[in-house]
């Protein structure tokens, strides 16, 4: 239930001065199928337009990134034409995760990157654009331990700390970070499903299964939190670190998504925020 501090529904927009732009040797394209969007926190609400649609105030707390208008009643129609805070600003998609708390104080991530990758399947040339309006949930909000979790926690600038499915203790001067890979095989038919998962699948042996034959870019969410030291007092609104999960509602303008898939993913080239070769 609600803790006293949890009344902060409005949220601090965070400094955008932390954007890191990949640098490549001049004239040499980087042979990694990738484009990206960096979207700081936009707002915080106890809403979830996928899991608890049209029920404002009924969810655990979420940190929302990207589209400023996202709330419990959001639909593809309500999101399109709105503004967001992503770089590139063409991306007005919605992304959200459970709020992280330290001693019951909410902590917003200060570096938030969404990579779109061609890895994971053998044939990146066949990857198709993410369908407009697609909803994807990744991770297991109900995880009870390591066995049923795909969460990954590590420390930025402290590779000596082994990654874990639960929170890790990061050295002073470093940041706690978490990675989450979204499923990248679509059933070719549904933008959502009753359990919000079964319309998507992970590849098997680097190929999409026949039940979910359409390969789309793999969304990899990377969040960096201004937290280090002891993990005691750390929790997510969904529980332990193993319950880390992420939600994505695709509202990239079709032409922007198609251009990036064609110029970055299909040809295995690393692109910048604008979708141009670095």
């Amino acid at each position: 239930m609600r803790k006293p501090l949890f009344h902060l529904v409005t949220i601090l927009a965070l400094a955008a001065g932390m954007l890191s732009i990949p640098v490549a040797a001049q004239g040499q394209p980087v042979r990694v199928a990738e484009f990206l969007a960096e979207c700081p926190i936009s707002h915080r609400l106890p809403d979830d337009p996928i899991v608890l649609p049209n029920l404002p105030g009924a969810s655990h707390s979420h940190d929302f990134f990207g589209n400023h208008s996202t709330d419990a009643r959001s639909t593809q129609q309500s999101l399109e034409g709105q503004r967001g805070n992503c770089n590139p600003n063409a991306d007005i998609s919605s992304y959200w995760v459970p709020t992280l708390y330290k001693d019951n104080n909410p902590i917003a991530p200060t570096i938030v990157t969404f990579y779109y990758l061609g890895e994971g399947v053998n044939n990146p040339a066949a990857i198709q654009p993410l369908p407009y309006g697609l909803k994807i949930v990744a991770g297991n909000a109900k995880a009870t331990g390591d066995a049923d979790s795909i969460a990954r926690w590590s420390c930025l600038h402290a590779g000596q700390v082994n990654p874990s499915k639960n929170f890790v203790q990061c050295p002073a001067g470093t940041m706690l970070e978490t990675y989450l890979d979204f499923p990248q095989c679509w059933n070719g038919r549904d933008l959502d499903s009753a359990d919000h998962k079964s319309h998507m699948a992970y590849p098997v042996a680097n190929a999409c299964p026949s039940s979910h034959p359409v390969a789309v870019p793999k969304l990899r969410m990377v969040l960096r939190y201004p937290v280090n030291g002891s993990t005691s007092g750390l929790r997510l609104a969904s529980g332990s670190g193993q319950t880390m999960h992420g939600d994505f509602f695709n509202v990239w303008p079709r032409s922007e998504m198609e251009r990036r898939v064609r110029n970055c993913i299909n040809v295995v080239i690393k692109c910048d925020h604008a979708g141009n070769q670095v």
Partner: protein, 155 residues
């Protein structure tokens, strides 16, 4: 270069999947029991099951009776086997295991958590009341809202 050739060869040898058919909307049964109703009922059962543990620590028969009645009515609405999607989460109106454990050791904490359960779940119900159109689900929402209002008035 090898990678380029390989990509080209693969693209040439392997036909891409056929263009996907138009996507279908989220499912709503003919009776009007749709995604919002389904989400509300599952959330309310999860909340109710935790609340039963909390109110069991009190001497209030109204709370115990009303939670039990609501769970019976909510389960009748399910159109698929129930899965608790919210266990362990910090949901509005849902007492956590840690709160229930604390309530068992302190009357003050217990009364505070009972009140938080009632006021927060009333907010969720008022939200649900505006969104739910399926008449049998709306009737249970109304019943639950009436219960909360009476329970808060009773102390």
């Amino acid at each position: 270069m090898t990678a380029l050739l390989l990509v080209g060869l693969l693209a040439a040898c392997q036909q891409g999947p056929p263009p996907p058919p138009p996507p279908s909307p989220a499912t709503t049964s003919q009776t009007g029991y749709g995604p919002t109703e389904r989400a509300f009922v599952e959330l309310a059962i999860s909340t109710g099951e935790q609340a039963v543990k909390l109110v069991g620590l009190t001497g209030r028969d109204d709370l115990k009776r009303n939670r039990a009645t609501e769970l019976t009515e909510l389960r009748k609405l399910l159109d698929a086997p129930y899965a608790d999607n919210h266990a362990g989460h910090d949901m509005p109106g849902m007492p956590t295991d840690a709160e229930i454990a604390l309530a068992a050791t302190s009357e003050e904490a217990r009364d505070q958590f009972v009140r938080a359960h009632l006021t927060e779940s009333l907010e969720v119900l008022r939200s649900a009341k505006q969104a739910i159109t399926h008449p049998p689900t709306a009737a249970v929402v109304e019943l639950m809202e009436r219960h909360r209002t009476e329970e808060l008035a009773a102390g």
